[in-house]
Symmetry: C2
Subunit: 334 residues, 2 copies
Amino acid sequence: MISLDGERRETPVDRLKALVDADLDAVNEEILGRMRSEVELIPELADYLISSGGKRLRPMLTLAAAKLCGFTGRSHIALAAAVEFIHTATLLHDDVVDGSELRRGKQAANLVYGNPASVLVGDFLFSRSFQLMVTSGHMRVLDILSNAAAVIAEGEVLQLATANDTATTEDTYLAVIQAKTAALFAAATQVGAVIAERPDTEEAALESYGRNLGIAFQLVDDALDYSGNQAKLGKSVGDDFREGKITLPIVLAFRRGSADERAFWKRTMEEVEQTDADLKEAMALLEKHGTVEATIERARHFGDIAKDALAIFPESETREVLQDLVEFVVSRGH
Amino acid sequence: MISLDGERRETPVDRLKALVDADLDAVNEEILGRMRSEVELIPELADYLISSGGKRLRPMLTLAAAKLCGFTGRSHIALAAAVEFIHTATLLHDDVVDGSELRRGKQAANLVYGNPASVLVGDFLFSRSFQLMVTSGHMRVLDILSNAAAVIAEGEVLQLATANDTATTEDTYLAVIQAKTAALFAAATQVGAVIAERPDTEEAALESYGRNLGIAFQLVDDALDYSGNQAKLGKSVGDDFREGKITLPIVLAFRRGSADERAFWKRTMEEVEQTDADLKEAMALLEKHGTVEATIERARHFGDIAKDALAIFPESETREVLQDLVEFVVSRGH
């Protein structure tokens, strides 16, 4: 970000990173250590994905939540690494399921190493995440993170079951993103309060912060698929459209559209019969009904809840950064 | 089995089942309960595989191990269900990786529901297994089972990395089956001693029993692929051959074979260029070098270790059944 007076201004992500910097180094070391295996394909494939510039947003949230709760132990490091491993395993399997071609700006791992390797290394990373959680020695943390993992998988199956269905409601769409994205954000922040042995109210506040931030994050991500540029996203614009993935901009455009427009969506998203001109036509329809903008407005709603959830904590730099992060996530959409 | 005097004789599997019968009912209820989800595809696909006559061998081992150790609590039920879920998740992913067509005598789930559903429902069952373990509230059990899950995944990747490689040594083959099969058997039996809070020697004995039984089991399974009949196995004879899967009968035949024979194995297993007559030729070469028989002899070696491992426990019906089970597993091969 460049401010009006020409100085480079740090983004909230930069400030978050600065806040947890030493811990984040330890997390990265833990991640590298746990990727090791005598089976060379494992560190090779894991490294291809993990070292290729993931933002480490979820583990940073765990570290910041622990910091907000005044945690002084070490178990947040392993838990943050566990959270990143769950995320990475999910990405590997997602790309197999979607037949993705790009991830984080480069060829998706399944295209380079094949689907079988992506499935199995995903399983390995998933197992590693559980080993990491167990090292925390904290039974409630295990409960929270294993529940999150099950909810994520359930959400992925729900997404698959509703794929290419233009009849998908906004409620079902929300149920999918709550499960596949927000559940991990929620667990990532909640465990910070749990290991710090803070009262239930603070645990609930951090759970709510993470969950609502996660919903906002996914809403904006889905909006960006129709408005961002490929380099910024590290993926192709219109990917969701080409797959016939029903995200909120489409759900709303279908509902707000004419009979002819609905026929267009049915052909392109349900039958996935698309010509080269269709993405342009789709973008025009989204623009006409303002559904990308509406999606970002929905994100703002959840973002506001996230910010208010943190208000019970006393003022601190950590609280401020976490609240500013919400604004940053929502305004990515513009 | 029909004895000489015409009476129907129970197999050790039947006796094992009778021994843990009430507990096994509870495990089956737990399994059905944990398969439930509002996302209908999950119970549907899980039920397709789980209800289709899996032997429940691994969960029965957990129940029997707990019984052998005099365990009187309830947590073995959830752990036995967790073990079965890990196994089922692995089967689902295996069939995707191998492109299998048959499993337990019917069409493999990936053919009926597609690879994406199999991957994601596998992930769901895997997560459920961790939730089940967490309910045990026993940190060492979590450690043992999460390590087993990681070792299994590592073994699957190793198997993939050495696939279609006729240079695979017997040692590498053993490393693969120790990881992908024996690790879960070992964990399944070891946790019985852990929850019963028995001394280390008994825990080690049950770990060794499970591990060596698991190795023997997989060796015989790999031998049967070239000798059993399809109905008995619930899979096609020669499946491994058609996939170019390098199992011990092939490892040994390659080593014991002539230059011409090695060229045959390279063409059929490495290039996977096969004609209809090749399976017959392969079976003839295995017969010539006695490698199916040799594989079963190797299984007998590990089976003997398993039986001796249990000798430190006082005589009991449970011990006898577990020891007879080993003999039964090995003699399946004949």
